[in-house]
């Protein structure tokens, strides 16, 4: 794929973008907690990474995920610095319309997620909750619920698959050949 990107094949770049966009977005959202900034990080990182591949600055194809992660991290760090600066220069009240739009999207996503969680069986919900909130491993959850660790692992795996199906998360569209 690197060769194809260097040759300027649009399909290769599209495959590259499909593969990394989700990863960069997840990474940036977790670090910045700001959807608008995460969008910026996605765009900037993808552009920087494609340019690096085009210019043959990534030595081996296997290094590409680590390279893109590093580029995304730099972008996130830049925004954390500007976030610190921004606090000294807050917008006046009523100047936050774009943020409201983002919040509305987030609200809709959460509503859908709550409905999806509601569709799980109670033991599946319990296993997810105990792992997330109480930070319990499968063995500890098993002890708490009177189950075997294997059953806990199965329930967790089943629950996540159900949620992914209900929420329509992007399926594995296949890895680009270079990875």
């Amino acid at each position: 794929m690197s060769t194809k990107i260097r040759a300027g094949e649009p399909a290769a770049e599209e495959a590259f973008v499909r593969f990394f966009e989700r990863r960069i977005r997840a990474f940036a959202t977790i670090h910045l907690r700001d959807a608008a900034w995460a969008d910026e990080v996605v765009q900037e990182t993808l552009w920087a990474a494609i340019r690096a591949v085009r210019e043959n600055r990534v030595d081996r194809p296997g290094q590409l995920p680590a390279f893109v992660w590093g580029a995304a991290r730099n972008q996130v760090n830049d925004r954390i610095r500007s976030k610190a600066r921004e606090r000294t220069d807050q917008l006046a009240d009523g100047m936050d319309f774009p943020r409201k739009a983002v919040e509305h999207d987030e609200f809709e996503r959460r509503r859908a997620a709550r409905q999806a969680i509601d569709m799980l069986e109670p033991p599946e919900r319990a296993v997810l909750l105990l792992g997330l909130v109480d930070d319990l491993r499968a063995e500890e959850i098993a002890e708490r619920l009177g189950l075997t660790p294997e059953t806990v692992r199965q329930r967790k795996s089943r629950a996540l698959k159900k949620l992914a199906a209900i929420l329509g998360r992007p399926s594995q569209a296949g890895r680009p050949e270079l990875l």
């Binding site: 990394f20 989700r22 990863r23 997840a26 990474f27 959202t29 977790i30 670090h31 907690r33 995920p65 680590a66 893109v68 992660w69 991290r73 996130v76 760090n77 954390i80 610095r81 610190a84 606090r87 807050q90 936050d96 943020r99 919040e103 609200f107 996503r109 959460r110 509503r111 997620a113 709550r114 999806a116 969680i117 109670p122 033991p123 919900r125 319990a126 997810l128 909750l129 105990l130 792992g131 997330l132 909130v133 109480d134 930070d135 319990l136 491993r137 499968a138 708490r144 619920l145 009177g146 692992r153 996540l160 949620l163 992914a164 929420l167 998360r169 992007p170 399926s171 594995q172 890895r175």
Partner: protein, 252 residues
């Protein structure tokens, strides 16, 4: 790192909670930048993390196993109540954060004092590497005490964090929570009111805790008014707000 260790060590859950050590966090991030299966799990977890936390009370109150028909024959209602009680207790967290029990129609009505019990809010600050402001440094130091259950001990550090940055809503939210948990209801009410009136990610949970502060002061109408606002906003706390309103209305 491989997919097995991600699963075994609750890597995704700890990553989202912000409790993964930095070296492990970097390793995990590089792993999911290359791994399809883990990326998919992360996206699912990311979508449900906050709603799942918002549903904590109701999930803990749910019975997770069906009564076994071979073991004991009891009238169905009694058996269900026994199983619900036993399994509900098992689901309850063992440490400091024991949420108030969720009442059902079969249970006796809870008193206002019981309904005013406060669960320490989960600490889930974003994981930020690189430069930290003075306010963030103070906040993280204070939150180490918070996670150890030392709520009163966390208060001075949280106040310093706010002095360094008046817009640090996270610090003000947890300050309000710490004051509430340490019994300083008046201070908690003021700080939680300030956060609840804003548009930060902590606003809804601050309003929930503000309603708890009002209940502690036996100000039922004020508590109901805050809960009504939560219910109308339709956020993560919507359902528990509606349930709490019902319980308050029937409380002796």
């Amino acid at each position: 790192m491989n997919c097995e260790t991600v699963e075994r060590d609750n890597i995704i859950e700890r990553y989202l909670a912000g409790t993964l050590p930095p070296e492990l966090r970097d390793e995990w991030e590089q792993h999911y930048f290359a791994c399809d299966a883990c990326m998919e799990k992360l996206e699912t977890w990311q979508a449900i993390e906050r709603p799942l936390r918002g549903m904590e009370r109701e999930i803990r109150a749910e019975p997770v196993r069906r009564p076994s028909r071979k073991v004991v024959w009891l009238p169905i209602g009694i058996a269900a109540a026994v199983v619900a009680a036993v399994l509900g207790a098992r689901l309850a967290p063992t440490s400091k954060s024991v949420p108030p029990p969720v009442a059902t129609t079969e249970r006796p009505r809870a008193s206002i004092a019981e309904l005013a019990q406060v669960t320490p809010p989960a600490y889930r600050m974003p994981v930020e590497r690189g430069i930290q402001t003075e306010s963030e440094r103070q906040f993280h130091a204070a939150m180490r005490k918070y996670t150890a259950g030392d709520y009163a001990g966390a208060i001075p550090g949280l106040r310093t964090a706010i002095e360094a940055d008046r817009s640090n809503d996270a610090a003000r939210f947890f300050l309000g929570a710490c004051e509430l948990l340490s019994g300083d209801n008046a201070a908690a009410t003021e700080d939680l009111k300030a956060v609840a009136g804003g548009s930060s990610p902590f606003a809804e949970e601050a309003r929930w805790n503000l309603s708890q502060a009002y209940l502690k002061a036996n100000r039922r109408e004020d508590a109901l008014a805050e809960l009504a606002k939560i219910a109308a906003a339709g956020g993560d706390f919507e359902r528990q707000a509606v349930e709490q309103m019902t319980r308050i209305k029937i409380a002796p």
